[in-house]
Symmetry: D2
Subunit: 326 residues, 4 copies
């Protein structure tokens, strides 16, 4: 299912090498100032160009198809679309019958009985995160003044990220990365216990981002090793400010007014320049090969803004729900 | 929102010290053999009684209110209910105005303007995971022969868990734990890219379990430190078997036929016997106190079966969807 | 699927002759005064007892299992349950293999491969509308001061309803009825164009009531015969008051501030005392028989409060959505 | 909300005078043959051109943006878009402050605080039913061999429809119409009691069509005047064939294998050439005026294919659900 949300409802579509990709947002309040320029900053942050990123450069210009009039949202569904301009499907012909390790080639082919669009990952392509970023721009406006900041804090295990990239390029390989996300000015009361817990909503969207392998809130996996007396966050005032923030800003699935903090693990880009092994589904022979195409050495470099967008979407949905029900 | 699922649709209700807790399941196929006894094994695994678990003992007998007839599911909604038999609300009176650190007391009070049921965490109580376990029993039958196994692999950072519990009891404190979950015999093709990725669905439900701080699939957070050539799982046969399983059995959000593996971090029980600090919302003074009531030294001891249930529910929904669409 | 709603989310369960029937409501704001007595008036209106109604008398006492504390809603899911006290399943034994015309016996048996609960219609029984009435009581409180009034305006084609019932009893047959529903004090702006049109939402719930055959808003089927100049409602003030109300209070799927008016057609109770024909699924022979059990001569007598409840639920969901988004 | 469906999930977007309108379909099985030509027949049926229809002629060429590859659906979301080519927004300038009777002008302006796109009804325009027709083409393929046929059986109360149109043109007015829909080869078992009743699903979508005032299944409003002995449909064979079809092919919310039959009332086009009255929201004066623009004398002429599409979408969702659960 490529739909998400109860109130801020999004539906994503498109393929890496099709005509266009896009997203439809239903449930955006009317009267929010919105123009093409508003998307620039976040879209630029996701764009390749820096060292360690792919050489496939698209203009990534958002077309506002609907839901915006005279520079403001109208209350009607907002459709945003991005043309695919530099398709080079030929890159993928050579490996037609050899599912690339780490990619969705094998599962999509099996699941859809060979009818999937195989070019560049088809609908499972990381290119579609561009649509998340676009929806995130609108979500951020809805939840304003809540402020989300995500950044890459390590790549390939190295906190000096320039060095990490340089090493990976030298090794002719790809590397993973660790992203930290911090959300400030969160009101108390977003989320609900159980299935609408804020962690459930955020993690749901974070794992919608290809290449994410883990998410941990507050103390995260360290919590498993801690004692309750250490882990509990003493509440020090009537606003609920806590002395520490092991909870990561959420108790019982509900925001507690402190910063929401979590970390996200991103795996190395599957399309490494190194030799790989896979099965040839036609000949049934194991093959050793390298994957062509234009790829990122460290996709995590471009992921922080996507993490922000996913977080903003989850919070926008929770915020609108809280507006309705509390 | 306390509803989840698209086809296997569940809605949870109840409070720790109310009349009963329960769950309604809509979307269970007819003709599945089901009787009260089928719940026993999993419910026993969640029950306290062992060292390190609470002394609040409930019979936890599932009442099958609807949807079952002549020992089989009928296709109609299944309502399962558990009476609360040993309420001791008095335990909570003393701390009425002092929100317990680590608990949802503060957020529920703020969110619901003081109308929340404060007794024992109210609706946010871990007791409601009993309902998840019950739904999990049915979900497991639906996805049969998929087999889910979760276990506690460390507590308080110690893989000798008896020792870990003994140490925590000695320290008069609570401890967290790490749970590993492994799912065998998963067909290729469950899940979809993006918002219905299997990781999105599973994590959504895992974070519905109180006390969970993190989830990581396959290589998890280690992936952030790895290189692509290391991380990619070579595909070695036509069934998609991979040499390694860093992916954790999922590519592009879709099960790849290998075992689904993930780890879950559980924080220490917030109700430790140690001294704690919090604000008195009436007097506005900081107070130091201990929390009474009947609590678990290591709630993670009882959590593996809940993790299994959450996983089974996510897989049942994905499986039914896949049955409809592929 | 027995769930409905986006914000005011309900899930229904139970069978006519099972242990109990019930409904779970998620998405009810906290702080609404609610006690058992509040259900009395509407439940009494649905109760049989008057001439023309069944002799199966249940106490229909609502048990508030969860979500209510100290006489107010808590913000947590509300579960309401009604015990089935006077099951007389034996009534249905005789016709086990002969699907009753007009009932769901045949379709449920086919759909669920014989696993359905056949007693008294099982989950498809009109008895479950009691749960709708209960949810309606809460929905009415949420949308207050919106006031819904439904009444039976004709039975068996006769606007003198006492006479109509007397005639039907004399004829030893059952009769249908026509219900008019009028909603006052509706704010402008509930609903959306297309899939969330107020007519879509209301009709969805009205057709969830067994025995409903049609719904028509405002001018209804007469509109098909009218001219635009006649049908259009002239707008006479800034509040949107219209001279006529052919629209039935809704334009473009959105409430226009005038009364919402619609009519609902209820078919005659299928369980008439007259001779009927059906197939014996075991012998494959056509049989002529009468249906025993305790039934209503005119189920429409008891339906107005159910129509009100369905309307209130639709409006509560739309109202909460409008609170979030406008 | 402009989303519908549980499995066959659609989301609609666009405005009458914006860049384009479109629909996204998630939950379409892979491997269905689909090309642009497949849409032609149904789109032509909705197109104006005949006497009594608007002179705004658009090419209505469907652009398949995603989800189709090599002439087949891929299993990924399908986005279909239609450019708006002949916007004549100027037509609407004159009446900027005078909400047109029968239209959504007033409610959209109030609901969205003046931020709505007012041109030609904006998002509430009947033009968007083109998107429904497109989704209907795909839905019809999914439910094949189920065959849906809708036709206009009366206009302005006259069953001679050519005459009715000629009369309306002579009267310089618009007229309503009555549509009959008949669905053949329906399997037993689509739909569920209560909220997922087939009538609930179909009516939900039928009322998503602008200008619909009523829907009635089988005997419809006549049922309210009938006796049970007359109304009940005798079951005459093991397949559930009934002697009569007052039920309209549905019992207990579930298809019974007989034809599904229902009627839909369409109001006269609100934009009549006759003089009308409304309030000037700026001057607060009542005004008498005529509405310019290009309109239909009898919109019902173009509606049968839209009714078919709405029905197909409801059935596709129910069919896929039934495939998953039975």
């Amino acid at each position: 299912m490529n739909a998400f949300g109860n109130l801020f409802k999004i539906q994503i579509f498109g393929e890496s090498h099709g005509a266009a990709i896009g997203i439809v947002i239903d449930g955006c309040p009317a009267g929010i100032a919105l123009q093409e320029d508003d998307f620039k900053f976040d879209i630029e942050r996701r764009k390749p160009g820096a060292k360690g990123t792919t050489t496939r450069i698209e203009s990534d210009r958002p077309q506002l198809i609907s839901g915006v009039y005279n520079g403001h949202t109208t209350g009607a569904p907002i459709a945003i679309q991005f043309a695919n301009e530099t398709q080079r499907s030929g890159d993928y012909e050579a490996l037609k019958n050899i599912p690339r390790p780490g990619h969705a080639d094998f599962v999509l082919q099996k699941k859809h009985h060979g009818f999937n669009d195989p070019r560049g990952g088809g609908h499972a392509s990381g290119r579609l995160t561009l649509c998340l970023v676009a929806a995130g721009v609108i979500a951020k406006k809805i939840i304003n003044p809540i402020a989300i900041h995500a950044e890459l804090i390590a790549a390939g295990g190295n906190t000096n990220i320039d060095e990490a990239i340089a090493d990976a390029i030298k090794a002719n390989d790809s590397i993973g990365g660790l992203i930290a996300c911090n959300v400030q000015q969160v009101p108390v009361g977003l989320g609900d216990p159980f299935f609408d817990s804020l962690e459930s909503q955020i993690s749901h969207l974070i794992f919608a981002i290809p290449a994410v392998k883990g998410i941990a809130f507050g103390s995260g996996f360290a919590a498993a090793k801690m004692m309750g007396s250490q882990h509990n966050d003493a509440i020090i005032d009537k606003e609920g400010t806590t002395k520490t923030n092991h909870a990561g800003g959420i108790n019982g699935g509900i925001s507690n007014g402190n910063a929401i903090v979590f970390e996200v693990a991103i795996k190395p880009t599957s399309s490494t320049a190194q030799m790989q092994e896979s099965i040839n589904l036609e000949s049934n022979a194991l093959e050793t090969f390298t994957v062509g195409g234009r790829h990122d050495v460290c996709i995590a470099l471009r992921a922080p803004v996507v993490v922000e967008a996913a977080t903003a979407i989850a919070l926008a949905d929770a915020y609108l729900r809280s507006k309705a029900l509390t």
